[in-house]
């Protein structure tokens, strides 16, 4: 990296390195059982590994839900939501169960995490 591309806030470099290392440690811990654990219960206490994974996602959330009909219809949206924008679901899937929708967010986060690891 040349000096001209360094961010004004050098702490961002420490953040980027830390986050990459954290992700690298978490990727091998993702299993079918872990995904199933989240599917069964997206909210509440989880196993240590799942808690660590969720802590990562929750500190810098990339997705959220839009509920056009409260408690009854949920769609996945991308974060951040710019002020002044309209809802822009990532696809046409409408979930009628909140837990199912929260799990869909989780799967997208996982997909992003794994894809970044392939680079």
């Amino acid at each position: 990296m040349s000096s001209t591309t360094l961010p004004a806030d050098r702490q961002l470099l420490a953040y980027a390195r830390f986050t990459e290392e954290l992700k690298a440690k978490l990727r091998p811990l993702i299993t079918e059982d872990l995904i199933e654990e989240h599917r069964r219960k997206p909210l509440g206490q989880h196993s240590d590994v799942l808690m660590r994974l969720l802590n990562l996602f929750r500190r810098a959330p990339a997705y959220a839900l839009y509920s056009r009909v409260p408690c009854r219809e949920f769609q996945v949206i991308r974060l951040p939501v710019p002020e002044g924008s309209d809802p822009e679901p990532v696809d046409g899937t409408v979930y009628h169960d909140q837990n199912e929708a929260l799990h869909a967010v989780f799967l997208r986060n996982l997909e992003d995490l794994m894809r970044a690891g392939d680079k």
Binding site: Q45, R58, A64, L65, P80, P87
Partner: protein, 755 residues
Amino acid sequence: MAKPWITGYVDSLSVRPGETLQFMVSAEGVSAADVQLVRLIHGDEAPGGPGFVEREIAASMNGTVELSTQFTQAGSFVVVPDATGALLPKGSFTVHAFVWPTTPGKARQALVAQFDAVTRAGYALGINEAGCLSFWAGDGQEVHEVAGERPLMARMWYFVTASYDAERGTVELYQEAVANAYNSHLSPILPLDDGTRVAGPLALAPRSSGTDLLLGGFHAEAPGVPRCVVGLFNGKLDRPGIQGGALGLAELARLRSGATPSPAGTVAYWDTSAGYTEHGIGDRVVDVGPLGLHGQGYNRPVRAMTGWNWRGKDDCFRLAPEQYGGIYFNEDAIIDCRWQPTFRWTVPQDLKSGVYAARLRGDGVEDHITFFVRPTTATAKVAMLMPTASYLAYANERFVLGEVGVVEAITGHGLILHDDDYFLGKHPEFGASTYDHHLDGAGVCYTSYRRPIMGLRPRHRMAATGVPWQFAADMSIVWWLEQCGHDFDVITDEDLDREGVALLAPYKVVLNGTHSEYYSERMMDATDQYLARGGRVMYLGANGYYWVVGFRPDEPWCMEVRKLNSGSRAWQAAPGEYYLASTGEKSGIWRDRGRAPQKSMGVGFTSEGMDECMPYRRLPDSRDPRVAWVLEGVGEEFGANGLALGGAAGLELDRYDLMWGTPPDTWLLACSSGHSDNYPHVGEEVMFNIPGTGGTQDFQIRGDVTLFKCRAGGAVFATGSIAWGQALPWNNGDNDIARVTRNVLERFIQDGEVA
């Protein structure tokens, strides 16, 4: 075309029969609406509950109203009437100020301006788009500018001046940092090259704009709006003034040192440190110059802020007012939308006290404008105290828009946005909550209900938690009261702050809401006095009696809070800015002023998490014959269901703790357990951070059900959980939480000791 909408507000949230309410409504894409008075019964639409319930009421307000789009002037500034144009002196003059900008370079911002962009007349000292000091002036035809070359740095104090020499046709700009070790973001040890002295020609003679002079903005027009204020400034100003003549360096150096300008040459000198009292300061900005052209704040520029000469020793304006000349301006501040009334309505004498709304429907769009009707005199033994101060604190929380911070890590719950959130995103002029930041990053310390508030809509759900919060959650208690068989009156925090214990005295029992978090001293005193005289409180929530807030008596619609160095806080006041301009009190949390919630309510804040709620289990005190009636009819475990995250104990939790003043004879009847690690122990109780302070490893993560007696037969019952209220309507009210609540209510309304 934008999606049609209707929204509005009332001029007073709490009214009595015979009083007249004004409804301010604005709409887009809807030209007329049917108005219907409704009594609100329930809001939460979660499965397992009664859903949204309202009852239409015959009323003179019912009918059709025409709607239009009403303009909102956001942004705080100071207006100085200048009917004679005296603030544009004849010939040469100098404008000066101390300034602490927060967004230099964001846009053109005016500091001191008698300028009108429409007529191209007047002058302004400000900051241009490049973040440099600038003087611009117009003669009615053209506008010319002289600008500095070195941008001002954010959050640094400067002395800035513009000297206009009419004979030479020049303007000289001067800026010099006046940072000391305390007052600015960066230390004076740094070799910052940000001072400047620049002269340039001004090839016109400024002509008076004929307008008011403004501190923090200038006059302009906007589409559909004949007059508005733009060029809004972000940051602090201190002691601006206007001097006759183009001052030389020696005179400027004298002003820079903080000396009062000589009366002979002064046109105006706004001493922003003048006017402080033991009880705070208002919106008046005093001109100590010969003309006495005092200014008036618009949308409450924030006072009681440190000035250019703050030296870090005294932390309150009461100790050293001369160091508190800073007035903080924000381009996105809003206190009062000042819309024209769309209709008025006088509350009929026979209208039962309760929660009401004007429902407006037109072109497929609907809105509820909520208000609370209290009785002329008490009509029941029971009062439901609606925590309107806390409604104000959360009003238009918008922290899920734009860059999302740590909110999801706090809640442990995925964010769920609704149409209300997107509507807010399209309307920054409706302002933010005390959980948000202004555009420049400053915490929002003022909140008002003279603007549309999404959280005062009965169906509203908070994006951060996925469940109703504050008002909509409290409607679950109201629903339960509506069907419990006992008459009740509705009263509000606003009434309590104004009238004190006299408001509560007629009632045998006062129920508080799910999250009565924000309390003024008058509200705290009234509660204690009521209890000491035999009153009984059912505190059906958690994290209550927590933040110190203040209201000015003349503007009860506006609340102030400063978030200090402890407590669960969305922002933190800057050093030295800990005291309420509204009352002069130290803000922060009540515990830090010696009034932990445990002293009055038996329990106090211990944890929060929004992933899951849990049931309670009995403790031995519940079998004590003196208080066995509380949990009569419920099993060892109770509260395993609810509309909020599947249980009665959760969201936020309060705990019994003798160390913090829980009365020694308090019965600890039950507590919850099994909370997740998304419920950490609150920071104000953590002296050293240690691992393992979450629900699975710390016994303090629990909600406690307590009862204690006060003097003269008074008593307090507390549930230690926000989710308690939202458990009441579960299974149509046939549940163990409703049973316990009824047990307590029916004992509390009886004469004699409760135990």
